[in-house]
């Protein structure tokens, strides 16, 4: 077995057995949060890492899908219909986002997505008849797909895990596909891609839709997990948080955003129980990452690992002449 297969097998076993080795139900819930935030980060990474398009408005899109699901359920519609409507609304909002923001790249793209995200945040606060304003929307009950009850922490964890695995596989397939290669080409040399016959705008647009789909999926899981949604979810800090997950873990890598999501969720939920100023700790961790591993935790650790490995091999070779 090669190292990659061993790593994946170990990861799979660890993920599958989470409810048996964590200290309690609370930690199973933390694991669920890590997984759906990882889906969100993977979605954003499609744009940030592979497309070179940094969005600061993704929490707005996340919120739109979450509110759509929440409002539909609040009105008494069934789970299947609510989920489908939330996915469609999430993707359509992303399409509108993309049409407005893809007029520009770089700083321009960041500013437009930031502005659009803030508009949605404002709407969530003010459109009280739909969103409930500051009070948000409170839900009762999780869906039961194929008779599989999701009310317990364990069952919800396993369902999230299944969707998480599907997400990773779909992102992995996309990244290796011609369209994925084209997207990375538009990140590195948009002008050349155009001269080679690619439709740069359309490639970015499709990438946005894929990102929007993953964002909506994670938003629906978020609503079902919390059974509550409020304007705070759409705030700029939420957009920044998921962007930090992507960058700290390693933008443009498959596993980076997952590690980043784990880092942020653990510090926010677990460490905050012990340290009051957990925000400062998170900031210090990010500063450390930027200084020691500017490319992100996953590619950075791999670089250090290879360096150590080579040194050890060299030392061994010198020790035995």
């Amino acid at each position: 077995m090669n190292p990659r297969a061993i790593t994946l097998t170990v990861a799979a076993v660890l993920l599958l057995s989470v409810p048996y080795w964590v200290p309690g139900v609370y930690y199973v819930n933390v694991a669920s949060q890590i997984l759906f935030f990882a889906i969100f980060a993977l979605g954003l990474n499609v744009l940030v890492g592979y497309g070179g398009l940094v969005s600061l408005g993704h929490a707005g899109l996340f919120g739109v899908a979450a509110y759509a699901a929440g409002y539909m359920l609040h009105l008494g519609y069934g789970h299947t219909l609510s989920i489908i409507v939330a996915l469609v609304i999430g993707i359509v909002s992303m399409a509108m986002f993309a049409v407005l923001s893809l007029r520009s790249t770089g700083i321009g793209f960041i500013m437009i997505t930031l502005a659009l995200g803030q508009i949605l945040w404002g709407l969530a606060y003010r459109w009280i008849s739909v969103t409930g304003g500051d009070n948000g929307i409170t839900l009762h009950g999780r869906p039961a797909p194929f008779g599989f009850e999701l009310d317990t922490a364990n069952s919800f964890y396993y369902m999230t895990l299944v969707i998480f695995v599907i997400t990773i596989i779909s992102v992995a397939i996309f990244v290796r596909s011609p369209l994925g290669a084209a997207l990375m080409g538009t990140r590195d040399q948009p002008r050349r891609m155009n001269a080679l016959g690619y439709h740069v705008w359309a490639i970015r647009f499709w990438a946005c839709l894929f990102s929007g789909l993953l964002t909506a999926v994670s938003a629906i899981l978020f609503v079902y997990y919390n059974q509550f949604i409020s304007p705070q979810t759409l705030a700029l800090t939420s957009s920044a948080e998921v962007l930090l997950m992507v960058i700290s873990g390693g933008a443009g890598t498959l596993f980076g955003p997952i590690v980043g999501a784990a880092l942020v969720v653990v510090v926010k939920n677990v460490v905050s129980g012990y340290i009051e100023r957990w925000n400062m700790l998170l900031g210090a961790i990010f500063v450390a990452i930027v200084i020691l591993m500017p490319e992100g935790l996953v590619p950075g650790s791999m670089r250090l690992w290879r360096l150590l490995w080579r040194r050890r091999a060299k030392a061994a070779a010198e020790g035995k002449p």
Binding site: P178, D188, G197
Partner: protein, 245 residues
């Protein structure tokens, strides 16, 4: 029918008229050289021909078809390829991946989000063939960041050739090359079959003059002299504007 016809092409950036009523008529299979001092508007003319810039007036036709309104990304599909004066490649990828992207750009497959790019052996094989033509097949798997400047120049040309263009626009293919490398690239360009029409911008007169059949001299965005090699070199205006003696 001409391979490439440029008619009354003009472009101004504010008050700066970089291209003024340029006419070009390039026959199929011709080797055309465009010369002119720095700032004469040579690269701008290329950008107007490929559609990366929109002309203020005038038209561009490819094999008799007016393409002035055709978006630049459609032009490679019609048989027009170009290289860049400033190397514009994909630094994180291997050489063969760079050329594969050039091939993929013309295939409907480029929209496919589901298949594995590395398993598309027909693309990889064509890319290797294009690299063989420029003598880089032996380092096809090398990341572009680990190649020399001369090798990158040849990758540029391989990418353009891989698209099987009918009209090939070369923007200073010899720029920054050593004497040996220049000779290699020259051999490479001479080996391109005659069904490809070539328009080349070049400063390096000794290699370029040998290659060219007809020469167009640009100065301040205008065509000053046009003719065959001997005519243009002998013309006093060429000496005045360009050769400087």
């Amino acid at each position: 029918m001409s391979a490439l016809t440029v008619n009354g092409l003009s472009k101004a950036f504010g008050g700066l008229h970089v291209t003024r009523g340029v006419n070009l008529d390039v026959q199929p299979g011709e080797r055309r050289l465009i010369i002119g001092p720095n700032g004469a508007g040579k690269t701008t003319l290329f950008n107007l021909i490929t559609g990366e810039l929109t002309p203020d007036s005038g038209s561009v036709a490819l094999f008799g078809r007016d393409i002035t309104a055709v978006p630049s990304r459609r032009r490679p599909h019609m048989g027009m390829a170009r290289t860049y004066q400033i190397i514009t490649l994909f630094p994180h990828d291997t050489i063969v991946h760079n050329v594969s992207l050039a091939l993929l750009g013309l295939l409907p497959l480029r929209w496919n989000p589901l298949i594995d790019m590395r398993r598309q052996s027909h693309i990889v094989e064509s890319a290797r063939k294009a690299l063989e033509r420029v003598g880089l097949a032996h380092i096809a798997e090398r990341p572009l960041s680990q190649t020399s400047y001369g090798e990158r120049r040849r990758v540029e040309i391989a990418m353009a050739l891989a698209q099987n263009p009918k009209v090939l626009l070369l923007d200073e293919p010899f720029a920054g090359l050593s004497i040996d490398e220049r000779r290699d690239v020259q051999q490479l360009l001479l080996a391109i079959p005659r069904d490809v029409t070539i328009v080349m911008i070049e400063h390096n007169m000794d290699v370029a003059l040998e290659f060219a059949e007809r020469i167009t001299l640009l100065h301040f965005g205008e065509v000053i002299v046009e003719g065959n090699r001997a005519e243009v070199v002998a013309d006093p205006r060429t000496r005045e504007v360009y050769l400087g003696h």
